[in-house]
Symmetry: C2
Subunit: 360 residues, 2 copies
């Protein structure tokens, strides 16, 4: 058995998020990654389309949750159904990427893996592919764990940062630097200082590594997870044993559990436009501006500006309003000031407590 | 032929309004009077229920438009279908009450007529009936044209006023006074002066008169209308001639065309709670207050106050909003600050111009 990374390129698409921040458009059975938030196809469909020129459909693995697995398979008809790995419940991203690595290792122990979130927006697919090719080449040639490092455009306090050190390579014309350390969601002051320093970048949540490298680091840093994954790989996915073993996996993010403590992490520096569309106002990063805001679907306005107006069916008619988020679906309508859009999560909790499961 | 007013009491319910101010709940086929704006039955149904103890269903006449006639008949199954008079197009209220009077005169020339708008809210039906009985008794005994005069509760600039003179009678314990003059929608200063004077009251749009009295005044003051009504009464309602003759009627309100110029007008002074629910914020006059605003239908809120939140189906979820009107139906959602609620009319015009007839 070789783990050299001379083998095939495999893309692992992480499509497990619930995305309650996009209620009422997002529901349990239709989370954020299944929504057409840029106006056309779903974020998942776009994510797979972006990577497809690098990786054939049978080498795309999608990790998702039980409630959305059927919808994910329907959205990606060209991906073999068996390539959609179903997590019985969420165990955070270390378990997600670990499980994918363990599964890939069984068939292709020398594979190189690209890990891609399903719910990001990257308009320039060619630029992404170039960066992923550079990351894969780095993972193959140099080894270690590789990430894409995004150029920060604002002092964002909701993202993780990384400090970059010396140049360790150049692939596809892109610089590769050693990652000195990671900084989790910072304070406003800290974020501004990092932005000013120029040596910090945003984590992208995108990774490249050989199956051998990630398995070795998971085994070293998270032995309980590695042991659990060993046991899971000996079981059938739909057995009761599998469910129990999955539930017993430690729930920790790949950032905290692996990346921050890994022996050797390098980053490909990328400059392409990127958004994680973290909330309704985040649509402004990915849709064309209309009257200082954005509009998606059937919307009409009179004397209104700086609003996020979204319809999934009913006409949204706004008169004389400013700085408001309005989202209308067939069975629910949300109205919230844009600077309180993150409170949608509270609202979803309220509906859950009130037994309004039909709307979740 | 007698026109003495010794005959039966007949109620004429004016149900012809379009009510675009209640879009998106109101539509061409479902105008304001057909909406359950107080939470239960439609305003029309409530208007007929209020008067029914005074007048049997076969003595209720409803005047309405062609687009809503079927819905009106369905809403009032106990009213004979032939009692629903259908205006081919709106010709304002003088034509409406005139046509009813001419039609009633053919069968009951000595009838006393109560004229009642279909779209007002009057919670105390007994108080209204007492006032209507007093008005009918005044019309029978004293003659002339009789109205109900509402106690003004604010310096409203959207209503018509009347100045009251000497007491000319007392019926059912209610004072009846001569009307000295009418004042149409006043300026703010004028409205405040009238409120302070204490001798002015609001027009109610409710009238009582004998068929003989109203016909005589219409013939004297609006001879073109009277001539047109003479011709209409000789025709079948569904003939082409009828349509043409109706269209040629002068369009003028009963207030401008008749009341302001009539020889003898008296008013029954009433104090009951009353609202014409002229706009979405007007719902606050007729619904219980919730968090400084009103709510109708499926509504949930977080940290929101002083809003008018109305659902005709979809859940309306409001987070952190103030002084806003939100109205959601299956196919359209309106969002407008409460102090701009009258701009709904502009919006309806915009939709009409855009060919969105499906939403009107």
């Amino acid at each position: 058995m070789t783990t050299s990374g001379d083998g095939p390129l495999v893309a692992v698409v992480m499509a497990g998020g619930a995305g309650t921040r996009f209620w009422p458009l997002s529901r349990r059975a239709r989370p954020k990654q299944l929504l057409p938030l840029t106006g056309g196809r779903s974020l998942l469909r776009l994510a797979v389309d972006r990577v497809m020129p690098l990786v054939s459909p049978d080498r795309v693995l999608v990790v998702t949750g039980a409630e959305v697995a059927a919808a994910v398979r329907a959205e990606l008809p060209e991906v073999p159904a068996g390539n959609v790995l179903v997590e019985p419940c969420g165990r955070d991203t270390a378990a997600c990427v670990g499980w994918a690595a363990w599964r890939i290792a069984a068939a292709s122990p020398d594979a190189v893996v690209l890990v891609l979130p399903a719910d990001q927006v990257i308009p320039d697919g060619a630029a992404l592919r170039r960066a992923l090719a550079a990351a894969a080449a780095t993972a193959r040639g140099r080894g270690g764990l590789v990430t894409l490092a995004l150029r920060p455009t604002r002092a964002e306090t909701g993202f993780g940062y990384q400090e970059l050190g010396e140049v360790v390579g150049r692939e596809e014309g892109l610089e590769v630097r050693r990652v000195l350390r990671f900084v989790e969601k910072p304070t406003r002051e800290r974020a501004e200082a990092m932005l000013a320093a120029g040596t910090f970048r945003w984590n992208s949540g995108m990774f490249a590594w050989t199956v051998g490298a990630i398995r070795s680091e998971v085994r070293r840093l998270l032995p309980a997870l590695a042991g659990g994954l060993d046991r899971l790989c000996a079981m059938s996915d739909d057995s009761d044993d599998f469910l129990g073993a999955w539930r017993s996996l430690p729930a920790i993010s790949v950032d905290f559990g692996v990346m921050e403590r890994a022996a050797d992490v390098s980053s490909v520096l990328v400059d392409f436009a990127w958004s994680d569309v973290g909330s309704w106002p985040g649509l402004e990063e990915v849709l064309p501006a209309v009257a200082g805001g954005v509009r998606l679907g059937d919307v009409v306005t009179l004397d209104s500006s700086s609003n996020v107006l979204v319809s999934d069916g009913p006409l949204v008619a706004a008169v004389g309003v400013r700085d408001l988020v309005v989202v209308a679906t067939r069975d629910a309508v949300l109205v919230v000031p844009r600077d309180q859009a993150q409170r949608v999560k509270e609202l979803v909790e309220l509906l859950r407590a009130a037994g309004r499961d039909d709307l979740l």
